[in-house]
């Protein structure tokens, strides 16, 4: 009914909690991109020679490529020459030397995300790499990790300390010219996390990277590389926030996961980049390439994502299931409202025998937003006995939003089995009336209904983040019923 829709719209109006700007002097490159900028960047980071070559190669390929237009999103062309490709706190004394010096605002934000930075907040057992604009500012819990043989450090540090590992695996999952934004990232990526879990090691802590865009008119191009050696296990979480600004900002990340025999990676994302205001002004363009290669047999990768932020999200965490019996999972909650646009999903590429994949996608659309699921399930000729299960549910709040599903299935193997289920539902007036008749505040009702809808995905998140994800949805839905 009209009245309830009106209320629902009210409820969805949200406040963005992480919109503050941290006032520190920064060393920021002039806007613009050319080979000199890349040389300067590489030089500043004292990278090995091969890295500069790699970047330049990517840059030259990028110049020849066109911006993709196939996604179900609509935005003005990005002006790449108006973007600055590097920004870092200027004076060394502005860089936190220890955790006590990390900006308290940043610490607070971490706490809100359920990621305590202080060593004394050990109960969560989470090691954190904090990336602030283009640089990693602090990595916690280095010692216990080193003892276990785990390498967890900024990728710029890994390039100096473990160049052979980086050289071997960087670009092995997402080649430099994989796609337009991946090529750009390969050319200009500034920092990100590097993880190596040695053979047979179960990482003693959850690892986490927290990305923060602070400076204006800068792009954030982080690069994450995680290598799980044979028989190892790691659970990794990334969180993201950005200040509220009227201009759109570009975030083009690449994440590569490599899994050897019997290895397991659980990768969870809580993405809460600034989504823009109620009128659709500002917000982050989140164009991300995430891919896992299960090169070893019996390896298993799970992507779990809760996407509530960004003006535009363009993201398909994928699994290349090369090793026999390898398993890929994708659990996703994507919530859009106001004028947000999301085109997200996954690709499950079955190459090895008896590989299996599961896709559970929950899209929630509110306001005037547009939310698309795009998924590819592909079986190569050798994928004997492979199977996929896909479940794709959309929930609409109000009547001005859109939900779309684009499933693609390509099978070159007759023995492969695919199951696909899709549903679309609404937060109905009857459900709202029932909740309110039981004395429940309309806002709380919507968030309860939405949380119920997302339950299958939330249960895949590490405990403490599941609680946070629930809260984040609540905040994101603030103002959706009056």
């Amino acid at each position: 009914m009209a009245t309830t829709d009106e209320e629902v719209r009210e409820l969805i109006k949200r406040e963005y909690e992480h919109g503050f700007v941290t006032e520190i002097e920064s060393d920021t490159f002039e806007p613009g991109l050319n080979e000199d900028v890349i040389r300067r960047l590489s030089d500043l980071k004292q990278e090995p020679e091969f890295m500069l070559e790699w970047r330049l190669k990517a840059y030259r390929r990028w110049l020849e490529m066109d911006e993709p237009e196939w996604a179900h999103v609509d935005y003005p062309q990005v002006k790449f020459d108006d973007i600055s490709y590097y920004s870092a706190p200027k004076r060394p004394e502005d860089m936190p030397q220890s955790l006590d010096e990390v900006d308290p605002e940043l610490l607070k934000t971490y706490e809100k995300l359920g990621i305590p930075l202080h060593e004394r907040a050990k109960l969560a057992g989470v090691a954190v790499d904090a990336v602030f604009d283009s640089v990693s500012v602090v990595t916690t819990f280095k010692e216990p990790l080193e003892k276990a043989g785990v390498i967890f450090c900024p990728i710029s540090e890994a390039l100096q300390k473990h160049p052979e590992l980086v050289k071997k695996y960087l670009g092995s999952v997402v080649p430099v010219a994989d796609n337009y934004y991946a090529a750009l990232n390969s050319a200009v990526f500034s920092d990100g996390s590097f993880v190596y879990i040695p053979k047979g090691v179960r990482c003693p802590l959850e690892l986490s990277t927290y990305f923060r865009i602070n400076a204006a008119n800068t792009g954030q191009f982080e690069r994450t590389l995680i290598i799980a050696d044979a028989g190892s296990y790691v659970s990794y979480l990334e969180g993201c926030t950005a200040p509220m600004r009227d201009e759109n900002q570009l975030h083009a990340a690449v994440v590569e996961l490599v899994l050897l025999d019997d290895a397991q990676i659980k990768y969870s994302t809580v993405q809460n980049w600034y989504p823009g205001d109620e009128t659709g002004k500002g917000g982050i363009y989140n164009f991300v390439t995430k891919r896992a290669a299960c090169i070893g047999k019996n390896s298993k990768v799970s992507w779990t994502q809760v996407e509530t932020g960004s003006a535009i999200t363009w993201k398909y965490p994928s699994c290349i299931l090369r090793g026999d019996n390898s398993v890929g999972e994708f659990y996703s909650v994507a919530l859009t409202h106001n004028y947000q646009q999301a085109d997200t999903g996954t690709k499950m590429i079955h190459i090895g025998k008896n590989t299996s994949s599961t896709v559970i996608s929950k899209g929630i659309s509110a306001g005037r937003s547009s939310n698309a699921y795009r998924g590819l399930v592909k079986f190569n000729p050798g994928a004997e006995g492979a199977r996929n299960f896909t479940q794709c549910d959309s929930l609409l709040i109000g009547d001005r939003c859109g939900a779309h599903t684009f499933p693609y299935i390509e099978s070159k193997n007759k023995s492969a089995i695919v199951e696909h289920e899709a549903t679309t539902s609404k937060v109905s007036d009857e459900q709202m009336f029932l909740c309110r008749q039981r004395g429940i505040e309309p806002e709380q009702a919507v968030s309860m209904i939405v949380n119920g809808f997302c339950k299958e995905v939330f249960k895949e998140l590490p405990m403490e983040f599941a609680v946070e994800a629930g809260k984040l949805l609540e905040v994101s839905l603030e103002g959706s019923v009056g």
Binding site: F433, C435, G439, I440, M448, G452
Partner: protein, 255 residues
């Protein structure tokens, strides 16, 4: 407790209630009977504050307050409870979570602190046993995959849990077999109290064998056309609605 004067209401521009009057005092049990389509559910929805229905004239006071000024959730917190004729499902939200949120919303309104999970669990188990529902139902999604009878018992269970001032039961008896009817009736009888009123809406007389009302009203075309004691229900049962010169819409349609 509840005073309805000259109530007119419509839904989607269709006039349904046409000048309904009703007085209910604390401690009383009233039954409203009437053919399908006569406006019984509309009355219950209007009292509970469903915004799909527009009140076009008349007034309703509840313990002296103008009920029509209050939002749905405010009415609920003031003690109006509606057992739905068609309870809706909320997938993924456990009954337990839903009910605890409800109980705590009511408590907050009355300045009482939240009930903790353990305390609530104990209470919820007790009331679910009272309506013969396996406590396992508490873990299931709200009405998710419940049979018709289970949904109705779940509604009565909620009334027992929330202890409202005015419980409106909309055809809580329909679709129940004899045993389930007995369970539901026992639950409703357990609700009877000197400080509580019950408004039972029913199409059939049989529920009234188990729950003997103080007053029976017959609703036709959005108006109460006859009121009396329990004997009115028996008379209706024996003679049919035609006796009062009204047509049973359902009987006519299905007949």
């Amino acid at each position: 407790m509840l005073s309805i004067k000259n109530l007119h209401a419509c839904v989607e521009n269709k006039q349904i209630l046409n000048g309904l009057n009703l007085e209910i005092k604390a401690g009383e049990v009233h039954a409203i009977m009437g053919p399908n389509g006569s406006g019984k559910s509309t009355l219950s929805q209007v009292l509970a504050g469903n915004e799909a229905f527009d009140v076009t004239a008349g007034e309703v006071t509840f313990n002296g307050d103008n009920l029509l000024d209050l939002a749905t959730e405010e009415r609920a917190r003031e003690g109006i409870f509606l057992a739905f004729q068609y309870p809706v499902e909320i997938p993924g939200v456990s009954n337990l979570q839903f009910l605890r949120t409800s109980v705590n919303a009511m408590r907050k309104h009355h300045g009482i602190e939240d009930m903790n999970a353990a305390e609530f669990m104990k209470l919820a188990k007790e009331v679910s046993k009272q309506v013969d529902l396996d406590p396992a139902f508490l873990k299931r999604g709200v009405n998710e995959g419940f049979s018709g009878g289970e949904k109705k018992r779940n509604e009565v269970m909620q009334a027992l849990l929330l202890q409202p001032k005015l419980a409106i039961l909309d055809e809580t008896d329909s679709g129940l077999d004899i045993d389930a009817l007995k369970v539901v009736a026992d639950g409703v009888n357990a609700l009877r109290a000197s400080d509580r009123a019950i408004l039972m809406i029913t199409h059939y007389q049989r529920l009234l064998d188990h729950i003997v009302p103080d007053y029976v009203h017959v609703l036709s075309e959005g108006k109460i056309i006859r009121s009396g004691g329990p004997e009115l229900a028996l008379e209706l049962e024996a003679k049919g609605y035609g006796w009062l010169g009204i047509e049973d819409q359902a009987a006519a349609n299905h007949g």
